[in-house]
């Protein structure tokens, strides 16, 4: 892994473009009907090719969503291609298939021979396999997706180390198991801190400052009150979780720290959730593109990038990266990474 550090000479913004550091918002101009056009062709080709078109479908989808998202009137670009993702897709299939094959074989011999230790082993291999594959998927998909994302020619990047993430994930999962899930809030916070903390947008670094204890309180309160109120509290819970994530994420450019803010109200979360639910459930999934557009509009409308990000002086720093295994692996395990 070689990072790209050639462009680190300090750039002095004293020429014909003054700094531009006011608070700003992303804008999203995508339309449900256009996304539906892409979707329907994707589905058609995916079915015709027995699923092998999937990587190209995904690339077309992402390309559209990126190109309709803009900052300061310039659009984002997704550079990933179906061809790159196809390699990752095949690798991901082989990895998951291989894991199931091994587990299947062990449990086959376990029933055949009646050795209890073998069935225990097959369970451990399955657990171990997922404990290995999930951080692999997170790492790989962050690495690939971000390196294939750019704005004004400046690429995003992910500098996390796979072994460290695996270690964090492994320890966290064991603790979560031992505490019957109570540790989950700390596990997720730790993962956010690690993953977000290693995102770069050129020379802009991201960080996450959320505390596990705060997240635990939010989750505990959220779950208990949601049960008591028969789910009505869910929208307050959604708001608190989103705020925990967004308000604790910071950007650092040169010596300036930039805050992020989300100011959606409970009613807005309610409208987003209920609207999307009806759009998807009552159309047998055909309304999904409109739900995606609504979600994108929601986040771009309510999230503000605070004072301090100078969009005229972000410098290119990240290396090129083309391995898409994690991208498809995370899809297969349905990890729902943004």
């Amino acid at each position: 892994m070689s990072e790209f550090y050639t462009y680190t000479t300090t750039y002095t913004p004293e020429g014909n473009n003054p700094p531009n550091t006011q608070p700003k918002k992303l804008s999203f101009t995508g339309e449900g009907s256009k996304l539906f056009g892409i979707y329907i062709v994707n589905m058609l080709l995916t079915v015709v090719t027995l699923g092998f078109y999937y990587p190209w479908a995904k690339a077309a989808n992402l390309r559209y969503l990126y190109q309709e998202t803009a900052l300061d009137n310039d659009h984002f670009t997704f550079h990933g291609t179906g061809k790159e993702m196809f390699r990752g897709f095949i690798k991901a299939i082989l990895l998951i298939f291989g894991l199931y094959l091994v587990v299947g074989l062990i449990s086959y011999f376990a029933t055949k021979t009646g050795i209890v230790l073998l069935s225990l082993l097959s369970f451990l291999v399955l657990m171990g396999g997922f404990m290995y594959l999930i951080p692999l998927a997170i790492h790989g998909s962050m690495k690939y997706r971000l390196s294939r994302s750019s704005w004004r020619g400046i690429h995003f990047g992910y500098r996390g180390d796979r072994a460290t993430l695996m270690k964090e994930f492994f320890i966290g999962t064991i603790l979560a198991m031992l505490t019957l899930g109570l540790y989950n809030s700390w596990l997720i916070t730790t993962l956010y801190r690690y993953v977000i903390g290693h995102i770069r947008f050129g020379n802009v670094a991201f960080s996450f400052e959320g505390k596990g204890a705060d997240f635990f309180v939010i989750n505990l309160k959220g779950v208990i009150l949601s049960i008591i109120t028969l789910g009505i509290y869910m929208f307050w819970y959604m708001k608190e979780r989103a705020e925990f994530l967004v308000h604790n994420t910071k950007m650092q450019q040169d010596d300036r720290t930039i805050d992020l803010h989300i100011d959606a109200q409970v009613a807005d979360y309610f409208a987003l959730f209920i609207g999307n639910f009806f759009l998807v459930a009552f159309t047998l999934g055909l309304g999904t593109p409109w739900a995606i557009v609504r979600t994108m509009e929601f986040y771009t409308r309510y999230i503000t990038i605070g004072e301090g990000l100078d969009t005229n002086s972000i410098r290119q720093t990240e290396a090129d990266y083309r391995d898409a295994t994690g991208e498809d692996l995370s899809d297969m395990m349905d990890l729902g990474i943004v």
Binding site: N17, V48, A60, T77, G153, I314, R315
Partner: protein, 362 residues
Amino acid sequence: MTNATYFNGQVSKGFEAQWTPHNGYWIIQYYDDFYELQTIRWEISDIMAGDSTPQKSTFRYGEFPHQSLLLDTQIAAPHLPEHIQNHTVDSWIQNNGLRGVLMATACLVGLVVSVYWFILPPLAERSAQFMPMTYEKQLGDELFEKLTADYTINEEATTIINEFAQEIDFNTDYDIRIKVVESDVVNAFAVPGGNIVVFTPLLQKMDRPEQLAALLGHEVGHVTHRHSLKSLFRTLSRYMFVSLLTSDLNGVSTTLLDNANTLFNLQYSRELEEEADQTALETLADNHIDQEGCTELFQILKKTTEEEDDLGLEMPAFLSTHPLTDSRIETARSAALQQTNAEKQPNLEAIFARLQKTVVEE
């Protein structure tokens, strides 16, 4: 010369630039931060197409990190070299607009429907043939356990009916095991691997061993030809197909046993029924049993249907899973008319008489 925005790939600042296309290369000129005129030359062969909208098109150039140029789409269009014309699916959609979307939707629906109705069933039935018999038995036994868990088994009748079956050579590789269960529906069904379930009311309606022999011959036919396995595969493959379309893969693995109940509702196709009838008739002939039993069995079922129809009851379960047609009755009748080897079956009659006593209506 046209106005454009140039990004040098090193800093996120757009430079107002002048773009001039030439034969084989583009020239881009802009003033840098220090007001010095910079001239950039892009060789046509190294230019890559970026995203484009009806308003703006992006072009990238060179090694990573790429330089890029934002141009008015209309102005750039006539100057685009051959290798960066877009031929992707998205542009196909853009070119064909609403008509394209409708066409794609129609194709997709047509494809999904034809796969569901015409392609999956024969494929699933074909693949059912390849399942090893030992595994089929194992699966069948598990399904059988689940299915009969809620029923009271008539142990006495079960013992006798198996004795009855022993007297007949069904000419099958399967180990046939029959269970008689208490119920108030007229029904019988076969589970993959050799298990057959007969409900008491159906036995009560019979008055001759030949009828029971015909019923067993028919159900064994379903077993030997793997009909319920085929139907199960068909149902499963359709379920999997729908799950794949809606990308809900989790459901698939748990379907098999959870959906054991669908065996009751597996509708055999007419071809499968006729095949099972044929097997029943052959079994009767091979064992010198009067094939008239088959016709009588059908009459019993038909009569039950009519009676229950008159009473406003639902169609007997057996007929809803084994559709009875006039042509089937006709086939059985003409076979019986031509039969020459029918003999009296004292053994079967004795066992049948004992069986009848165990299932008398209270």
